[in-house]
Amino acid sequence: MRPYVVTDGRAHPSRNTFDLVTLVMAYGDRPLTGLSPEKRRLMELCMGGALSVAEVASHLRLPVSVTKVLLSDLVDSGHITTRSPIPSAQLPEAQLLQEVLDGLRARL
């Protein structure tokens, strides 16, 4: 399937709120009637939980830029919602850990 058929010839997503790691989640209660096979597949992918844009593109085997067009359509039609990525946890600094270790060694 060539990408221009998937997007019906459109290359510009209707919104520019996606990057590779934006998480997308599907609303499970939306009807899938009238959606193209790729959008259906996308909805089925996202039903199980949040997926990043890059993962969705990879599963659909479509270029990321093409996937963004589909995603923005689905956001417009209220089928999916987006969330910015969860920041990775702040690791305590090595120096602090070292001080704790030294303190414990001094105590014991």
Partner: protein, 461 residues
């Protein structure tokens, strides 16, 4: 005495006169017979001359112009010659000439087809290479403006490939690559992607039927030709409606256009072509050559489907019906365990996949902590080169990025395609796990591979 002499003289004269008279009469009769015979012979000679001229001027040209059809050839000019040796000799000349013409035509047709086939195969190869480059560029560039241009180039290239493919098939070539069994809806959409007015095609009804692998490409090509015909013979502001219908012993692809329709003669000609029984002479396809129906007829005869165009669509145009017998159809079964064993073979578009569980999801996306950058990487320009992926490639898979090869290790064979540069390194395996279809590009996404089905290795070019 003198009386006696004079009497004798008289008798003698009388006798001489009688003899002369008899001789004259006989001579006259002979002359008349000879004259008649001469006249008859002259007539016959003239008739034969005229017959020979008729042979050269009318009968032989008629043989040369005959298009192999059942049209009767002109016979003798003069029926008096019928059954003579002369007429039989003329008939032998006709037959010899006919054989010579047929032989020359077959030879010319074969050499024309061979030349066309070779050039079209070469063009197909180029279109195919170009499609790979376009696909790579679509992966690489994230700019919508660039993507828009790439989509246009991609579309033009698909049409170019289809035209070359159709002519090659008409000249006796195979339709092309073997594809995996695909859902009928994807087959039809694949066909849609190869025509100019793909936006005007609307596919209705989704039936859960797939086309067997052997027939995918021929059906795609036949449907593409029908859709192209429908779109080209109807107004640009009208839609071409496609519906897929399961029937008792197979399935139908019904294509309706709102165009001008075809008159009786056009329908007859189309039916003759679509039957696949009419021999295709590439030199007689009209100007500009009409390849569509001959190609469809050829494919239909070769693969066992059938096409009819002799009904009217509800919109006043033509209704084309492509009937696929059950022998060419199959069902794709979702196979969940397979996906968990081999995340690499997760299909892109199986008909109705089970919703992946969280475990499946995790197994499919083995991301380690910190793999995802906190912010989106800046879009690389076209000139930036990608550094090698830092994540170890999955077992059995060559490293996807050429740059990540250990230095000094010789590369064998063509380098595997690098993942798109804008993907984080950790997504490399994911990308490689879902190899993009190569080749036809407009390949309909296939269903889940069954065990035993050859799975393409990740580095396959």
């Amino acid at each position: 005495m003198t009386d006696h002499i004079s009497e004798v003289m008289v008798w003698c004269l009388a006798a001489v006169a009688a003899v002369v008279l008899v001789l004259l009469l006989r001579q006259h009769r002979i002359t008349t017979t000879v004259r008649k015979r001469n006249a008859a012979l002259e007539g016959s000679l003239r008739a034969r001359d005229a017959e020979l001229q008729h042979l050269v001027a009318v009968r032989l040209p008629a043989v040369a112009d005959a298009s192999g059809g059942p049209a009767p050839l002109p016979g003798l000019l003069d029926d008096r010659l019928a059954g003579t040796d002369y007429a039989r000799s003329l008939q032998s000349v006709m037959e010899l000439f006919q054989q010579a013409v047929e032989k020359a035509q077959v030879k010319a047709d074969m050499s024309a087809k061979a030349a066309l086939k070779a050039s079209m195969r070469a063009l197909q190869g180029l279109a195919h290479e170009q499609q790979l480059s376009i696909s790579e560029m679509q992966e690489r560039h994230d700019n919508p403006d660039v993507l828009r241009d790439l989509l246009e180039i991609d579309h033009a290239n698909s049409q170019f490939g289809r035209r070359a493919q159709a002519i090659a098939v008409l000249c006796g070539s195979w339709p092309g690559r073997q594809r995996a069994a695909s859902p009928l809806i994807d087959v039809v959409r694949g066909a849609t992607s190869r025509i100019r007015d793909y936006r005007r095609v609307q596919v209705h009804s989704q039936i859960d039927i797939a086309v067997i692998s052997r027939a995918v490409e021929p059906v795609v090509l036949a449907v593409a030709e029908l859709l192209d015909n429908a779109a080209r013979h109807s107004q640009p502001n009208t839609k071409v409606e496609v519906s897929l219908q399961p029937v008792h012993n197979g399935a139908c692809v019904v294509i309706d256009d709102a165009g001008v329709g075809m008159d009786g003669q056009e329908v007859q000609r189309a039916v003759a072509w679509l039957s696949g029984r009419r021999p295709v002479d590439v030199a007689r396809l009209g100007d500009p050559p009409q390849f569509g129906f001959p190609v469809i007829g050829m494919l239909a005869a070769r693969y066992g489907f059938s096409v009819s165009v002799d009904t009217r669509s509800p919109y006043g145009g033509v209704r084309a019906v492509l009937f696929l017998p059950s022998a060419l159809l199959t069902h794709l079964e979702p196979d969940v365990s397979h996906a968990q064993q081999e995340p690499a073979a997760v299909p892109a578009a199986e008909p109705r996949p089970a919703t992946p569980s969280a475990e499946t999801r995790l197994s499919v996306a083995p991301l380690h902590a910190g793999a995802l950058p906190r912010t989106a990487p800046e879009r690389p320009g076209p000139a930036t080169t990608r550094r090698g992926s830092t994540s170890p490639p999955p077992a059995g898979c060559p490293s996807a990025a050429a740059g990540s090869r250990p230095a000094g290790r010789p590369t064998t064979g063509p380098p595997p395609p690098p993942p798109p540069p804008h993907l984080p390194a950790a997504l490399g395996p994911l990308r490689r796990g879902a190899p993009r279809p190569l080749g036809g590009g407009d390949r309909p996404a296939h269903g889940r591979l069954r065990p035993g089905h050859p799975v393409r290795s990740c580095g396959e070019p």
